[in-house]
């Protein structure tokens, strides 16, 4: 847990004093990721660097797991906090394993133990220890280096981790992969993370809570859903952009938005049944399921209106399905891409669980907006 209490930093510059962080109070619960977000120069990085005292606070207090950090010596404090920056900063003179074990070595841990831990961590980010342990940083790609940067920060199992735009310099494709890997790692280790970013999409993806900064002041501190649904003021609203409703799509999972009781028909039902069902619910298609509820195909409105006979004679394959576990953004993209106004939602074994329609998406977004 990280708690900031009226944290303030005033820099004295030749042009007079500048308040970089102004009376910021917030609390990041244990195991959560808090993203500090805002335009450049808004004080988010300064605020983060006060946590490990790379910047000395002018006023206010910082508590980690309830303990006032000003009572702890800076070196000891920093060794208990993971630190990752955008430029990675791997030590080029040290091998990958020595890099990862930097903090355990500073703490005087048993070498065997820390080396074993380093191998485990490498495994966790899908880098083969046998290949990478004895390499040097320059022999790795940017994405690989940042993976090492992240697990180096985690090597001594710090309860708290600070990250300063850690994925900012990585290409978009790799960035997604590394973000996902990090989220998995973080959920597994339950590290409390303070993460500086200027990228709203990244923040929405990574954060349990987002703190929006402007000119050193905390403008809003809320969960991503709440933030997008109810921006606290005009600045936040403008910062989030006019397409914030679309961004909310990624925060809702298909299973929470789908119509749970889609009309289904069996292969040997008459087409007439499909026609009736479509008239009733107004969807663009009904879905054909097998004996175990698995999705087999569909009858569209056009087919139902123009054909006679049984369903099995006229059913067509479904061009695209949504998985119940994915987020709405992907599902809605599929709906548009395949012109599929009624999108079947299946679980991992292919059983039809529901259907997504434009109306159900709208309802779900409205519901989550009100909930928070």
């Amino acid at each position: 847990m990280i708690r900031l209490e009226k944290l303030t930093k005033v820099f004295d510059t030749p042009q007079g004093s500048v308040t970089a962080t102004d009376q910021v109070s917030l609390e990041v619960p244990k195991g959560e990721i808090c993203v500090l977000l805002g335009p450049s120069g808004c004080g988010k990085t300064t605020t983060m660097k006060m946590v490990n005292r790379l910047v000395q606070p002018t006023g206010g207090k910082i508590f980690i797991d309830g303990q006032d950090t000003s009572a702890i010596d800076a070196i000891t404090l920093r060794r208990s906090i993971g630190y990752v920056i955008q430029q990675i900063g791997l030590f080029p003179n040290k091998t990958i394993i020595d890099n990862i074990c930097t903090v355990p070595d500073l703490l005087g841990w048993d070498r065997k133990k820390s080396r074993k831990r380093a191998s485990e961590l490498l495994d966790m980010v899908a880098l083969d220890p046998a290949v990478f342990l004895n390499r040097y940083p320059r022999e790795l790609s940017g994405g690989q280096q940042q993976r090492i940067g992240v697990i180096r920060a985690l090597a001594a199992d710090p309860p708290v981790m600070l990250m300063d735009e850690p994925f900012g310099a990585i290409d978009p494709i790799n960035r997604e992969v590394i973000q996902d890997e990090f989220l998995r790692l973080q959920r597994h280790l339950k590290t409390t993370v303070m993460f500086v970013s200027h990228d709203l999409d990244e923040a929405i993806k990574m954060a349990d809570r987002i703190a929006i900064f402007r000119d050193g002041k905390l403008e809003q501190f809320a969960t991503p859903t709440e933030l997008l649904a109810q921006p606290a003021n005009a600045f936040v609203e403008e910062f989030l952009g006019s397409d914030r409703a679309l961004k909310r799509l990624r925060l809702v999972r298909v299973t929470d938005a789908m119509d749970n009781a889609p009309v289904v028909i069996k292969r040997d039902d008459p087409i007439e049944a499909a026609r009736q069902a479509l008239l009733q619910n107004g969807h663009s298609a009904v879905f054909v399921v097998g004996p175990n509820g698995r999705l087999r195909g569909m009858i569209t409105k056009e087919i139902a209106e123009q054909s006679q006979g049984t369903v099995s004679d006229h059913a067509v394959p479904v061009p695209v399905v949504a998985s119940t576990a994915e987020d709405l953004r992907m599902a809605v993209a599929s709906m548009f891409a395949h012109d599929q106004p009624t999108l079947p939602c299946v679980d991992e074994s292919g059983v039809l669980r529901g259907a997504l329609t434009y109306a159900s998406v709208t309802t779900a977004l409205k519901k989550t907006g009100e909930m928070d």
Binding site: R78, I85, G89, N93
Partner: protein, 256 residues
Amino acid sequence: MNRHANTLRWIYGMITATFSGLFRPTCLVAAFLLGSWAWASGFLPGLWLYQEDISYLAVKHIELVAWAGGLAILVGIPAGILLARPQLRHVAEYLLQIFNLGTTIPTLAVLALSMSLLGIGILPAIFGLWVATMLPIVRNSYTGLVSVSGPLMETARGMGMTPRQIFWQVELPNASFVIFAGIRTALAICVGTAPLAFLIGAGGLGELIFTGIALNDLTMMIAGALPTAILAVITDFVMGRVQFFAVPRGINPLRH
């Protein structure tokens, strides 16, 4: 135009010869022919006469270089380190400008100045050589240390290294290649300028060179110049080896 083309063809020929199997035997034959000619013309037997002088003076020469170079390393590196400390960085550039001014003064003049201070003999020679040798070492130590990247220092600090640990584990290793490059240059300069020390009475291989010039005795001059050159090459080679092994592999461009 045609001549250029010929030159290029000749260079190209040399390069292909280097890589063809004929290069080594050709070299050996050339060296043998050159050696035979040198012997037959009486040049080599003449050189042989100076054998005792050479070995005596070479030792003197090496002593001069070892003292001047050793002291330059011992003082130059700490001086560079000191200048690169954050507390001194703002004045460091000014100080180094003054030092640079020092390098523009010819070594001969430095030796003359040191003779006017300390008289003649080994001591002023070592002092003069030391001054001339130290500058590249100070300059490179300073440059190497200040060019260790900011983010690297920030992560080191952020991970909880003490200033001392940052110095030994991050700054010094990452500056080591540049520091060694400075030492290498400095020692090459030192060996090369040491013959001048003869002029203020410190002996060394300069004795043969300058006497050879004065007496218009080509053989005597070569007897001094050739060992000096060989010594410079050997010094550079040895320092190159040291640099190769002492600089950590991860930042050693020679071991990429």
